[in-house]
Symmetry: none
């Protein structure tokens, strides 16, 4: 899961980033509105967390820029002010959710997960694929009912596949979402991770689509 975090507070930004990374997310943290607008338009993210009070460019303007460019990634907006007009402006510009500071980081994570789950077209908090189940709110996998222990990268790959079960996920998409920004295309690390995943959950579950990517077989 790759998240774009736009937060200029030098204390809060890294704190959120750490919490998200603890939840196995790949996080790109930017403090500037210009960078945020650019990254959001060009890179592939599963969701964005956007602070409204930014230097350089207003958060709302950033959001408008994304939407204007046709980006429909889920956006969770943060604000220090509790102002009503702020919320109105945020939603009008296309925000999906809203959180007022101060907040519990756990709540942010939960809301983010709910957003991503919904954006993937799933309402069910529990996703299944054969013997595999994925609890979206907590982000835990189970295999045949037993907790499945995965490393961070394994988790990112498998959750991507799970969120779009049955769909072909392109190699490049996977690389972009799994690695933070710097995806190295000529490296076989993705194959190695997939290989280890297959060893853990059974080779049949992850299907290779030669020349394109991988697919989690539905069931």
């Amino acid at each position: 899961m790759r998240i774009l975090l736009v937060e200029d507070d030098r204390d809060l930004g890294p704190r959120i980033a750490r919490a998200l990374r603890d939840e196995r997310c790949a996080v790109d943290l930017v403090a500037d509105g210009i960078d945020a607008a650019h990254l959001g338009e060009t890179e592939q993210y599963d969701a964005a967390v956007l602070d409204l009070g930014l230097p350089g460019q207003d958060g709302i303007a950033v959001l408008r820029a994304w939407r204007g460019a046709g980006r429909d990634l889920p956006v969770l907006v943060l604000t220090a002010r509790d102002g009503w007009s702020d919320k109105v402006a945020g939603f009008k510009a296309g925000a999906d959710d809203y959180l007022v500071k101060p907040f519990r980081v756990e709540e942010l994570v939960m809301r983010l997960r709910a957003l991503v789950r919904r954006a993937a077209g799933h309402a069910q908090p529990l996703l299944r694929a054969g013997p595999l189940s994925f609890d979206a709110p907590t982000g835990t996998f189970e295999l045949d009912g037993l907790p499945l222990k995965l490393t961070a990268l394994e988790w990112r790959v498998l959750s991507q596949l799970m969120l779009r079960k049955g769909a072909v996920i392109e190699r490049l998409d996977l690389l972009e979402k799994v690695y933070e920004g710097d995806a190295d295309t000529d490296s076989n690390s993705l194959e190695v991770i997939v290989g280890r995943l297959r060893k853990k959950i059974g080779a049949a579950l992850i299907e290779t689509v030669r020349g394109r990517g991988y697919r989690l077989v539905g069931a």
Copy 2:
């Protein structure tokens, strides 16, 4: 827009209903958990607003019942309690958003709008052409209802044709799209691919337009 509103407060319920109707929503207001579970499972709504403190049946149980029945309508949960565990339980049961009483009705309306907007973005129809169907989100083809196995280049060609079904796709356009820029014009590789495709899906489906390109016959 049709909304299911589950709220037992005799004052708040009608107030929310009125506000939603002012926004041109069709609102069904129920005060009882049993009715709520039943309506949510049988009727078609664009979204639901669900109060957690209900007589008869717990709100969480209602939500679980909907999700258990495969209902994936967006659900916004209301609660009087500000307890953290409440939120966790709500999200775990499959809620999409959460609002703590007291709140401004306008905020409820806006959050609901955001939910519906995002949920609506996923209705993408299946593309069909004769016995062939293409599911764009998952990127998979089916022939007579059976999954069709294609190589990377075959897939690119066929999806190009499918996305502009009925139109003539020029050779050069196809070459550009299939070979991403470095297309070799004096080579018959495209013909070879088309030939293999015809062998897989039936020769009649892809029509040759001499001197220009190919056309996927519509149906």
